[in-house]
């Protein structure tokens, strides 16, 4: 009886080891046996022109570099962070992946998973990209290639604003509140917000924080990852008093940001809401959701209104930089592809396909719509541009921050609750 038990146990152990050993093998990408190279690329454009841009650009690169194949995988935006982290953990990561700088990229760099690109970015690219490169700089080294700059502001449907009698863009929060009241009277929602995805709601808090907090406070919080300065509380109080005027669409808590006509971008695209606070990628998203899938003809834009009594410099902008990073074990052609991405031609194509602002100053001529021209103008004048706070402070703190803001939107939280949630998250 006993020997039998032991034998059974031993057989099990052996079989188990074999099975586990089998799991550990495999994976990896890059150089194939015949010298050809396969690059895997993860981007977040699952539909329309953006998806086509990646297919076309990859095909052009393959044509110019025989022996290189690019395998494209379009990952839904809300799935990207989690999926990428899992892939990086598993040791079988994509060679090229979307990155937005800040704490999230820093976490990947700290884990030794991102390639140091400092000496691999071409001199031409460095000149053309200018300051947008700094978004991917960590400890003086560069880990990403920017493809678009995405400052945020309020996108509008000019027709709806005109119908409501709002003729001038609101310059202060008080003016915005007055405009909201007029728009509400016409029967459409003043502002759409996709709170289901949390970050669109959180962008309101970020922008209030941008007005309330000085640049130093924003930057030092990136290192300390705690909200000790009283300005964080002021930002929450400002937002709370704005929320009290009920400026948002009905059921915003279960409204997504970008998926379908019922999303916040969809509401704007279908003239169900007059405004939306969003980054500069919004024209492209809205265009894909209009009834005829054409760009919204009456799309307008104005910067986030000023808030009195804060330490932030007027005109400062909150925004992001979209870029691409190479995995640490990616083949050398990965960096060639990054340099290829930011040449004038591809950046112009990018700006057109995504209807957004290109990172390269050479390609700014491709920006033609009035809304984006206003964004570009404000961007050029901005004293500084802060990265999205959830990106800046990393996934852990960023997530808690976003959820705490959504709680406040739903009437469940408080300004102090946001500060507490951030400080609590840092300990997890």
């Amino acid at each position: 009886m006993n020997t039998r038990k032991i034998l059974a146990g031993a057989a099990l152990a052996v079989a188990g080891t074999l099975a586990l050993g089998g799991c550990a093998a495999g994976g990896g990408s890059g150089q194939n046996a015949d010298g050809s190279v396969t690059l895997t690329l993860w981007h977040n454009s699952t539909t329309g022109d953006g998806k086509k841009y990646w297919e076309d650009t990859a095909a052009a690169f393959e044509a110019a570099n025989p022996g290189v194949t690019i395998e494209i995988q379009a990952v839904q935006n809300e799935e990207m962070d989690g999926k990428l982290q899992t892939a990086l953990n598993s040791g079988d990561a994509p060679d090229l992946f979307m990155a937005r700088g800040g704490g999230k990229l820093a976490d990947i760099v700290t884990a030794g998973q991102a390639m140091d690109l400092t000496d691999k970015i071409s001199a031409d690219a460095k000149t053309a990209l200018g300051s947008s490169l700094s978004a991917f700089e960590i400890d003086g080294k560069n880990y990403g290639m920017p493809v678009a700059v995405l400052p945020s502001g309020i996108f509008t449907s000019q027709d709806l604003l005109t119908a409501a009698g709002v003729t001038a863009a609101p310059k202060t929060i008080a003016e915005l509140e007055a405009a909201n009241a007029k728009i509400k009277a016409t029967g459409v929602a003043p502002i759409a917000v996709g709170a289901k995805d949390a970050w669109p709601a959180a962008h309101w808090y970020y922008n209030f924080a941008l007005r309330a907090c000085s640049k130093d406070v924003l930057d030092s919080a990136a290192a300390s990852r705690s909200f000790d300065d009283p300005c964080w509380l002021k930002a929450g109080e400002d937002l709370q008093s704005f929320l009290a005027t009920q400026p948002f669409n009905d059921g915003f808590l279960t409204t997504a940001a970008q998926q379908g006509a019922g999303s916040s971008a969809g509401l704007l695209a279908n003239h169900q809401a007059a405004m939306e606070l969003m980054g500069a990628w919004d024209p492209g998203v809205i265009a894909s959701l209009t009834p005829d899938e054409q760009p919204l003809a009456d799309l307008g834009w104005f910067p986030f209104p000023e808030v009195s009594g804060g330490d932030g410099e007027p005109g400062a902008m909150m925004g992001g930089v979209d870029g691409y990073s190479c995995w640490v074990n990616a083949p050398a052609q990965c960096t060639d592809f990054l340099n290829f991405l930011v040449n004038k031609e591809n950046q112009e194509a990018y700006a057109k396909a995504f209807q957004t602002l290109p990172a390269s100053s050479e390609a700014e001529g491709a920006v033609t719509t009035p809304a984006l021209k206003s964004v570009l103008e404000a961007y050029a004048k901005a004293p500084y541009v802060s990265v999205w706070l959830d990106t800046l402070y990393g996934q852990n703190v960023g997530n808690a921050l976003n959820v705490a803001v959504v709680d406040m939107f739903a009437g469940k939280g408080s300004p102090q609750g946001i500060v507490d949630a951030v400080n609590a998250a840092a300990s997890r």
Partner: protein, 337 residues
């Protein structure tokens, strides 16, 4: 657990083939060499038959549980080997986090709500469907359909219909009941009830099928005898059918409780990655994914998983010990009790 399983399986396995062997060769003076060969044959058979299942069980159940317990003691962002040992801090944070208390409360609400709503409804439907009537199989199919549809489809469908600008509110408006319009899934006061109703709609088919199977197992003669003795239909159901359905109902309740404790997919699809806690529909599982995987705090998430495991295990054991004991006596306990 594994050794117990292995041991009892070994016993059961050895008893049967050995018995058969004895039957084939009734002579008492069997050569010992052959007996040894027989033993090896049995061991080989066991290794082949049990091996794969045990390997899968150990590598995908036991090992992950052990690893989660290990990671739970670290602050770990998921990259590389965990080094930042924090002892039981993660557990202290979980047990003192109001958001976790809320999630636990929602789980408890769903456990009780599912039992109270689904049990009587499903029993009634099963009794109804057990009688001979027109279109019986069609109705059975219709009731069972929601259970077969994937959770994702159910979540997306209901999510779209119940949005503030969705089909339900539109329909209410059109038939002149505009006053009943509500934010079914985004109003924190309503959302959990909406969830409970969707869950009931989705899983009642399973309960009905289980109960129908239970009803089939009750001999017709008992009802006939009772009817001859003058019992009414309701008296028969109350005093004969219901008591005999006991084991089925208790097993269904067990499955329902465990399912409710681990509820994840429907909530995740309808409320997304972030707003479940805000809408008041978060469960322990959504809390785990939101604060573990999504927040990149894999150590913390693992600790939540362990807490969830222990809670489910405790509930399961208590239920087994006090409720299921009679039903499973002899089946799960190896006939020793």
């Amino acid at each position: 657990m594994t050794t117990q399983l292995a041991a009892s399986a070994t016993d059961a396995g050895s008893r049967r083939p050995a018995g058969e062997g004895a039957h084939r060769t009734p002579s008492a003076g069997r050569p010992p060499a052959r007996r040894r060969l027989e033993n090896w044959r049995i061991r080989g058979e066991l290794a082949i038959l049990l091996g794969p299942a045990l390997v899968v069980f150990v590598s995908f159940v036991i090992l992950p549980v052990a690893l989660a317990a290990y990671y739970g003691f670290y602050k770990w962002s998921g990259f590389g080997t965990p080094v930042d040992f924090v002892g039981i801090r993660n557990y202290v944070t979980i047990l003192t986090d109001p958001a976790f208390h809320e999630a636990l409360g929602h789980n408890a609400f769903i456990v009780v709500g599912s039992l109270v709503l689904q049990g009587p409804l499903a029993l009634g439907l099963a009794l109804l469907l057990n009688r001979k009537m027109r279109a019986q199989s069609l109705i059975r199919v219709l009731i069972f359909v929601p259970y077969v549809i994937s959770e994702v489809v159910v979540g997306l469908g209901w999510g779209l219909m119940l949005q503030s600008g969705g089909a339900l509110n539109g329909a209410l408006e059109k038939i002149g009941l505009g006053a009943l319009r509500a934010d079914w899934i985004s109003d924190p006061a309503l959302a959990i009830w909406t969830l409970l109703i969707i869950i009931t709609w989705k899983y009642i088919g399973f309960a009905v099928i289980l109960f129908l199977a239970g009803l089939q197992g009750i001999p017709e003669e008992l009802s006939e005898a009772a009817a001859i003795d003058g019992a009414s239909y309701w008296q028969i159901q109350r005093h004969i059918v219901l008591p005999l359905m006991g084991p089925t109902i208790r097993i269904w309740a067990f499955l329902s409780i465990i399912g409710s404790l681990q509820l994840f997919d429907l909530v995740w699809i309808i409320w997304g990655q972030y707003v479940a806690s805000t809408a008041g529909t978060s469960t322990m599982a959504t809390y785990m994914v939101a604060n573990g995987r999504n927040a990149g705090s894999f150590g913390y998430g693992s600790a939540v998983a362990v807490v969830m495991f222990l809670i489910s295990l405790a509930v399961a054991l208590v239920y087994q010990r006090f409720v299921l004991r009679r039903d499973t006596a002899g089946a799960l306990t190896g006939g020793t009790t």
